[in-house]
């Protein structure tokens, strides 16, 4: 209306009946059975911190966060209620909401608070009740109390702030004191840098020495003496002497060579001249010698005269010249060899002198370098000493350079300024904390976004501002009354109630929850019935009858069956209609019977098409919507996919059914065989979630208001154990986890140790437990049906208030036991023996640490004390060195363990007796174990209790009925009638 009009007028507001208390108004409205007025809530998916939450748990969180008023989360033991609550609180805190988290008892509060520790978004505050003491809280939770936080502020935060401020001041003082060191370091760094430069120069000079000397050695040859270094006079002098010697020798030889060359040239000219003359005379000589007078040459020789003589002279002179040339050439060669020798001598001398000079110079450089290095070492020691006096943070100068020192000095100055700021801030902060210490409680209360406590603890904190919360999360809501809820509800705008179903424990297996099975359902249960859409409440059933299918449109009691009238369908005479016609009432169609030839699909289609009815029988406890790209699916139960039968109802709508034989339907008749797994709505046919919801509402009358969530997967327990526990305690209510969440210890999940052992059928006496171990009976075939006494128990229980009973106990035990209470000495002994055997198992020892250890749950405090005493006397347990907690069920609330040994204690000789404080205690005791449950009890007393259906002892009718249902189902197992025989073992001896 507000959205349409843009404004709401006061006369359009709901009547001011309880207007000051919206919770009262809403609860009255809901309990009056008119939740239809509520707008359905469509929560948006959440991304949980706890990634291990399953889809149902996530949906529960999303619904709790989205609800505009009320949300109920119902869960059986071990299904993750506390985890869901933790997630709700975390998510709501992340959204900036302020929450009040309450529970009737402290255990659930503390368990959730422990898991909230370390989540930054959450700031929890634990309220203490009048009867609670801080030291009784778990260590992880104490820190959340106001007193502890105030104490921490006074005794830790403020002194720490002061100490840190003083420490910062001290650091400042040290830093300021180190100021002169910076000058010293700068000076040292400068000198070290200088030395390093010098060393570097020396190294360079050392490397350069050879080339320099070579250059100097070459210089005199080129430029003459004087080009050498002053300190190299000996080298230069030696070099000069050698050079002079060389030059002198070479000069002399050069002169000789010049003369020789001159003479040689003369001789060569003479040789040429003589050769030319001889050539000239050759023809004449030839003609003369051979007397060739007919040639002109003979005649010219004749006319010339003495040609031959002349030729011989020339020849002789030529030979002489040749000889002299040869001599001169040899001389020249010798002179040149001398020259070479002189040069080589010089080179050798020069090389020697140069090498010596280089060595001398390098030695000199090395010596100077060593001196510098020594000086460096001394300065470096001083550097290190000065640097060591600097504060470590920021880092002192990394290298002994002026630049590094300057940089480090700047960083240190910066750090000093920061330290000064820190010191000043620390003092201001400590002063501020001291000033605000008085009002810290109020500030904490205002800041805390999760205020947690027990419902009674909230009353104790009446002075505090504990109103205006966005969300109230009440765990254990099944244990509060509507008046108690309304007392706390006014403090918040929205409410999330988390509780356990009392109804589940009372319902017979597979019964339809058409109405509450609890005679006087509590506040939470009533709200649940009104708000939760449980498809099992639909009245329909499909049963087999004479080979055909019978569709029951409403339950027909045995008394009503006489009014059933049969009628055939006109156009389908093979289909029979059964009409209920009770006197003075309108006749109604009750059943439709189909011929054997008609399949379930055809029968369903017929009923939907012709009768416009959708008789759905569901096993699921909630409407579970699932959407994907192709379809919207409403899951109504789980079934094997291979056995599913599709039923086309209308365009795009398909129902999937599967057979489940052997079930008992709501009317108590056998064999309701067909159940609906899901309804599918195809998106391609135009279906979407809203339209599908509307369709389901129109055809089935089912509407999920989005304000309830049901957790039914027992993650705590091993699958076998969960299956048996489900059957004992909550038949049909648990869905088994998809994977094992608890260690499998390799033995049956549930074992029953009868105390006393059943009588041997052959001897008629009890089989004494002994080290040989028990007779193992598996399944119905091996169940000791005949051995169970049917008329009463062994009468082993002792009432400590009765002196005659007390005297039956060993004298050494009597003083330590309480003045009153029930004990069962034999059972306590059996429990200790069982414990010894369990702790001796390697698998248990390996897994116990991580899985919560081993616990003994006794239904009576006195029995728990007796078991503790007997355990102290057991050397095997002392040697086992493992903590075993022994207590009553109430002490184990919100706790779990790997193995639970449950001592039922009661053993009455003739009458039916109750077990413990009530059925809740029994449920608690039987649901603590994760992997293994060992029950000790008197089978006869259990059988007797299973036969008694009336109120008993301190139990009212409802509680007695619940306890009877649990015990009766346990007796079924003892008698071999359990549905999971492989998971249950009846041991006739001890565990050893």
């Amino acid at each position: 209306l507000a959205a349409r009009q843009g404004v709401l007028y006061s006369h359009q507001l709901p009547a001011a009946n309880g207007a000051g208390d919206p919770a009262r108004h809403l609860i009255a409205h809901l309990l009056a059975g008119t939740p239809q007025d509520l707008e359905p809530v469509c929560p948006t998916p959440v991304e949980p911190d706890d990634a291990a939450l399953d889809d149902v748990q996530r949906e529960a969180v999303a619904r709790a966060l989205a609800t505009p008023d009320l949300c109920l989360v119902q869960g059986l033991p071990g299904t993750g209620k506390s985890r869901v609550v933790t997630e709700i609180l975390t998510q709501a805190a992340a959204r900036g909401e302020r929450m009040l988290f309450l529970a009737p008892g402290p255990e659930p509060v503390d368990r959730v608070l422990e898991s909230l520790a370390g989540r930054e978004a959450v700031c929890p505050l634990r309220l203490l009740g009048r009867d609670e003491r801080i030291e009784e809280l778990p260590p992880g939770v104490r820190g959340f109390t106001l007193a502890e936080q105030e104490r921490r502020l006074r005794e830790e935060s403020i002194p720490t702030a002061r100490r840190e401020a003083e420490a910062a001041e001290e650091r400042c003082r040290l830093r300021r004191g180190a100021a002169p060191l910076w000058e010293q370091l700068l000076d040292l760094a400068g000198r070290l840098e200088q030395l390093a430069g010098q060393v570097r120069s020396l190294d360079e000079a050392h490397a350069r020495a050879g080339a320099e000397v070579e250059g100097e050695a070459a210089a005199p040859e080129n430029a003459g003496p004087g080009a050498t270094a002053p300190d190299a006079a000996p080298f230069a002098a030696g070099l000069r002497v050698a050079l002079q010697a060389r030059d002198g020798t070479l000069a002399r030889l050069d002169a000789d060579l010049a003369k020789l060359t001159t003479r040689l040239a003369e001789l060569r000219r003479e040789q040429e001249t003589l050769a030319a003359r001889l050539q000239e005379l050759a023809s004449l000589v030839e003609a003369r010698r051979h007397r060739r007078w007919w040639v002109p040459a003979w005649w010219r020789a004749v006319f010339r005269g003495k040609v031959l003589q002349e030729a011989e002279d020339f020849q002789t002179r030529r030979q002489q010249a040749d000889a002299e040339v040869r001599g001169l050439e040899e001389e020249g060669g010798r002179l040149r060899a001398e020259q070479d020798e002189a040069r080589q001598r010089y080179a050798a001398e020069r090389g020697r002198l140069t090498a010596a000079e280089i060595a001398r110079r390098q030695a000199d450089l090395s010596c100077r370098r060593a001196a510098l290095e020594q000086e460096q070492v001394q300065l470096d020691a001083k550097w290190r000493a000065a640097r060591g006096q600097l504060p470590a943070n920021p880092l002192p100068p990394a290298a002994p350079t002026r630049r590094a020192v300057e940089e480090a000095r700047e960083a240190s100055a910066l750090a000093l300024r920061r330290e000064e700021e820190c010191a000043a801030f620390g003092h201001r902060w400590a002063a501020c904390l001291e000033e605000s210490a008085a009002g810290f409680g109020e500030r904490l209360l205002a800041m805390a976004n999760v205020v947690a406590g027990t419902t009674s603890g909230l009353a104790a904190a009446a002075g505090a501002d504990l109103a205006g919360f966005d969300l109230l999360v009440l765990e254990g809501a099944d244990q509060v009354t509507d008046a108690e809820f309304l007392t706390v509800a006014a403090r918040a705008r929205r409410w999330v109630l988390v509780g356990q179903s009392a109804e589940a424990a009372c319902r017979p297996a597979a019964a339809q929850p058409a109405r509450s099975a609890v005679p006087y359902p509590g506040f939470f249960e009533r709200l649940w019935l009104h708000l939760h859409c449980d498809p099992r409440r639909l009245p329909y059933a499909w049963v087999e009858e004479n080979g055909g299918l019978c569709c029951r449109l409403r339950p027909v009691t045995a008394a009503e069956s006489q009014y059933l009238e049969s009628e055939r369908v006109a156009d389908r005479p093979d289909i029979e209609l059964r009409i209920l016609t009770p006197p003075r009432r309108e006749p109604v169609l009750a059943e439709v019977v189909f011929p054997p030839s008609m399949s379930i699909a055809k029968a369903k289609e017929y009923v939907f098409r012709e009768l416009e009815q959708l008789p759905v029988r569901a096993l699921g406890t909630s409407l579970r919507w699932h959407e994907d790209a192709e379809r919207v699916v409403l899951r109504l139960g789980d079934g094997p996919a291979h056995a599913a039968v599709p039923v086309a109802l209308e365009v795009g709508v398909r129902e999937t059914v599967h057979a489940r034989p052997g079930e008992v339907n709501g009317a108590g008749s056998p064999a309701s065989s067909w159940h609906t797994c899901c309804m599918e709505f195809e998106r391609c046919a135009g279906w979407h979630r809203a339209r599908a919801e509307q369709w389901v509402r129109r055809h089935l009358g089912l509407c999920d208001l989005g304000r309830t969530a049901r957790l039914d997967v027992p993650y705590r327990m091993r699958r076998d154990l969960a299956a048996v526990a489900a059957e004992f305690l909550f038949p049909g209510e648990y869905r088994l986890p998809p994977a094992e969440a608890a260690p499998d210890l390799g033995v049956p999940a549930v074992e029953f140790l009868p105390v006393p052992p059943p009588p041997d059928p052959l001897k008629g006496a009890a089989v004494a437990p002994g080290p040989r171990g028990g007779r193992r009976s598996r399944g119905a075939a091996a169940a000791p049906v005949a051995t169970l006494p049917r008329r009463g128990g062994a009468g082993l229980e002792l009432d400590l208030a009765d002196p005659r009973h007390r005297d039956r106990l060993p004298s050494e035990l009597r003083p330590d036991l309480p003045a009153r209470g029930l004990v069962n000495y034999l059972e306590a002994q059996a429990a200790v023996r069982a414990l010894e055997a369990i702790l001796a198992e390697p698998a248990v020892r390996a897994a116990a640490g991580a899985a919560g250890g081993v616990a003994v749950v006794a239904l009576y405090p006195a029995q728990a004390e007796l078991i503790r005493r007997l355990m102290q006397q057991s050397p095997a347990l002392a040697a086992a060195d493992m903590d075993v907690r022994v207590d009553v069920p109430e002490a184990f609330r919100e706790r779990e363990c790997l193995v639970a040994v449950v001592s039922l204690t009661r053993s009455h000789s003739h009458r039916a007796v109750s077990y413990g404080a009530g059925p809740d205690a029994l449920v608690t005791a039987l649901t603590r174990a994760r992997s293994r449950l060992v029950l000790l009890g008197d089978a006869g007393t259990l059988v007797r209790r299973g036969q008694w259906t009336n109120p008993l002892d301190h139990l009212d009718a409802a509680a007695s009925a619940r306890e009877h249902a649990i015990v009766a189902r346990l007796v079924d197992y003892l008698q071999g009638r359990g549905a999971h025989p492989h998971a249950f073992q009846f041991r006739e001896g001890s565990l050893q």
Binding site: A2, A3, G6, V7, L8, Y9, S10, H11, L13, E39, V41, A66, T67, P68, G96, G118, R119, E120, A121, V122, C123, P124, G143, Q149, R152, E156, S157, T160, A161, E164, R418, E421, C422, F425, R428, W429, C432, E435, S436, R443, L444, M447, A448, N449, D470, R493, R494
Partner: protein
């Protein structure tokens, strides 16, 4: 809530009893009237200057002091515990003083630096506030009226009762000068939910955006009094109808300049006939001859009605020891929901 009944107006003696409280205000004109108001409650975003307390100041300073101010690093400096500190930081973020950057590090915002510098900052938050609008059937939209005291009482909605929340939105968008003149809260920055409920708002919070209109009835004496300087102000004082108790002291509403626009009916001068009728009715109630009443001359002046009456009428008043001669008689002039109130001054003709 009261049902709408016949409108009752205070009598002369009641008005005379109120005069000592009103006289110090030197009213120029007086009216008594029944006003129907829209009491509109809406979620608004307001911005108010808030002082920065030392605790938060130091936490903000710590953001600059710690090199990488993640929650653990800050807690190492502040020792408050990470969860408490995280809440403090989220509170600062809600006020726009801190923000979380990458790697979980927090930093002070520009607003925080301004707050650290000035010691205060503008805190923006949402709250439900009440605004009053004067029901004016003849006008297009009811004008805003700054009713400061809870002087009005809930009443039944008359026929055709309607309110357009856009009117409230329009007021928010008026200039500052207008808001100051009309007394509209300047700190209101935005009205939420006026343009229809925001679909993105979760259902749990959507109800907070619903605008609720409650009809209220205000019986008030309205006085036009001189204001500081040249102007004049209109002050409305609530009246408890039961016992006709005037809630003096602080007025239920006060309008400065522009009151004529808000109350156009009051700005109009009454016709002489209305005065004459009121005088005649007054005389009639006291058994005075109509002829003598008609023979009187009426001179309305500010909050007074000066009547020059014939000697005969005056004699009769003297004989009846009338309050009018003691200047304690008051007259209601006009019709409708709001009537002019005038003090009778009866003098002899020619006096």
């Amino acid at each position: 809530m009261t049902a709408a009944g016949p409108l009752a107006f205070p009598g002369s003696r009641v008005l005379a009893g109120w005069w000592p409280q009103l006289a110090p205000l030197r009213p120029r004109k007086l009216w008594a009237g029944h006003f129907l108001l829209h009491r509109v409650e809406a979620l608004v975003e307001v911005s108010r200057p808030v002082g920065l307390d030392p605790f938060h100041r130091l936490v903000l300073q710590a953001l600059d002091l710690v090199p990488q101010p993640t929650v653990p690093a800050l807690d190492a400096q502040l020792h408050l515990g990470p969860q408490f500190l995280s809440r403090v930081l989220h509170g600062l973020r809600a006020d726009g003083l801190a923000e979380q950057g990458g790697a979980g590090a927090w930093q002070a915002t520009a607003l925080a630096r301004q707050a650290l510098h000035q010691g205060s900052y503008e805190q923006v938050h949402q709250e439900r506030q009440v605004f009053h609008f004067l029901n004016a059937p003849r006008r297009a939209a009811p004008p805003f009226l700054d009713v400061r005291r809870p002087a009005a009482a809930p009443c039944a909605a008359p026929e055709g009762w309607a309110f357009d929340p856009a009117q409230l939105d329009a007021c928010v968008r008026q200039p500052l000068e207008w808001k100051r003149q009309r007394g509209f809260p300047e700190e209101v920055r935005q009205v939420l939910g006026v343009r229809g409920l925001n679909g993105s708002v979760p259902p749990a919070a959507a109800w907070q955006q619903v605008v609720v209109d409650q009809p209220e009835h205000l019986l008030a004496v309205v006085a036009l009094v001189p204001a500081e300087g040249e102007g004049e102000r209109l002050l409305g004082f609530g009246v408890k109808q039961e016992g006709w108790a005037l809630q003096g002291g602080e007025p239920a509403f006060a309008v400065g300049g522009g009151w004529q626009e808000l109350f156009p009916g009051l700005a109009e001068e009454l016709p002489a006939d209305a005065w004459r009728q009121a005088w005649r009715a007054w005389c009639q109630q006291r058994g005075l001859p109509a002829a003598e009443a008609d023979a009187s001359t009426l001179e309305p002046h500010e909050q007074r009605l000066r009547v020059q009456a014939p000697a005969g009428l005056l004699a009769r008043l003297r004989a009846a020891r009338s309050d009018a001669l003691k200047r304690e008689a008051w007259l209601l002039v006009g019709g409708g929901n709001v009537r002019r109130v005038a003090l009778l001054e009866v003098v002899q003709v020619g006096a």
